[in-house]
């Protein structure tokens, strides 16, 4: 199912998961991405200031920033609106 996700949904998943600092391989495994696309997404989010690099000894970890919290809130609000405002399906 993962290949049907939009890039904004993938950004949301990465940012929510990185609320606690995470390593690259853990992120791509959890978010079901291959290393190439995972790298692209993480680089994009880092460039935009949504992820910051945290050094844990030798390890490079990625952590969501304050901007990410805004994005997560906005995204969640927009997606929950889908069930709030549009009449639902019921038998």
């Amino acid at each position: 199912m993962s290949e049907r996700r939009s890039r904004y949904e993938i950004y949301w998943e990465i940012l929510v998961f990185c609320q606690t600092p995470r390593a690259f391989t853990v992120i791509i495994n959890r978010c079901d991405l291959n290393s190439k696309t995972g790298q692209e997404y993480i680089e994009f989010l880092s460039r935009k200031g949504y992820l910051s690099i945290v050094k844990d000894g030798e390890k490079t970890m990625y952590a969501a920033t304050g901007h990410a919290a805004e994005y997560i809130t906005l995204f969640s609000r927009l997606y929950q609106t889908l069930f709030d405002e549009i009449p639902g399906f019921k038998l």
């Binding site: 199912m1 993962s2 049907r4 996700r5 939009s6 904004y8 949904e9 949301w12 998943e13 929510v16 935009k48 200031g49 949504y50 901007h67 805004e70 994005y71 997560i72 906005l74 995204f75 969640s76 927009l78 997606y79 929950q80 609106t81 889908l82 069930f83 709030d84 549009i86 009449p87 639902g88 399906f89 019921k90 038998l91």
Partner: protein
């Protein structure tokens, strides 16, 4: 978290699960009935020793319905297994759901629809065609039941055809009802997908504004 969104989400996931399950069950029943119907009619034709138009038409329509049933079952299994997977994951987390998990399940539901959209549209078509095929079979069986009495010139009726006609009409009704609800489901989700497209524009703008 138990709020309006999660309650509506839960209702919706359950409703679609029930619809998919019913659809699968009736597809299986229809398949079995269709095969039984064709075999019985062929036996009757072989025993009669001659071919008359109506039974031949009934067998052809029955055969078309059986072929549709194969497609119906395969599509039903695919749709049911995807919603079953989602429902099991949701049920396991239901009581201690965080707002983020609720959003995560909404994303999965959106993806479930995106993945199965073409299949659900096929299902609408198959259910509608299947419904009309069985409706035609039911009507033909009913006509046969009446015409037997008329041609013999007596009031005697072939009561053995009543269960067959009722079953065909029943399956036709369920099939057309499934088609109606699948159509309703797609109209709700198509509306949501267009709303998501609008939301993505907003998210893109936000990301551009927040760029360092």
């Amino acid at each position: 978290m138990r709020n309006d969104v999660s309650t509506q989400f839960e209702d919706e996931i359950k409703s679609f699960w029930i619809l998919s399950f019913l659809n699968l069950v009736f597809a299986a029943i229809t398949m079995a009935y269709g095969v039984m119907f064709i075999v019985t009619r062929l036996q009757e034709m072989a025993q009669a020793g001659f071919l008359s138009a109506l039974p031949v038409i009934i067998v052809i329509v029955g055969f078309a319905a059986a072929v549709l049933c194969i497609k119906w079952i395969v599509s039903s299994v695919e749709i049911f297994s995807s919603i079953e997977e989602l429902k099991s994951a949701y049920d396991a987390r239901e009581e201690q759901m965080t707002p983020e998990e609720t959003t995560g399940f909404i994303i999965q539901m959106v993806n479930q629809y995106r993945t199965n959209k073409a299949l659900i549209h096929t299902m609408i078509l198959v259910c509608t065609l299947g419904g009309f095929c069985f409706f035609a079979l039911g009507i033909m069986s009913s006509i046969e039941f009446i015409s037997l009495g008329l041609t013999s010139g007596t009031v005697s009726l072939n009561y053995l055809l009543i269960p067959s006609a009722l079953l065909s009409l029943g399956i036709a009704m369920v099939s057309l009802t499934c088609s109606y609800y699948f159509r309703k489901y797609t109209s709700v989700w198509d509306m949501r997908l267009s709303e998501i497209s609008r939301s993505e524009n907003m998210l893109e703008k936000t990301m551009e504004q927040n760029s360092p």
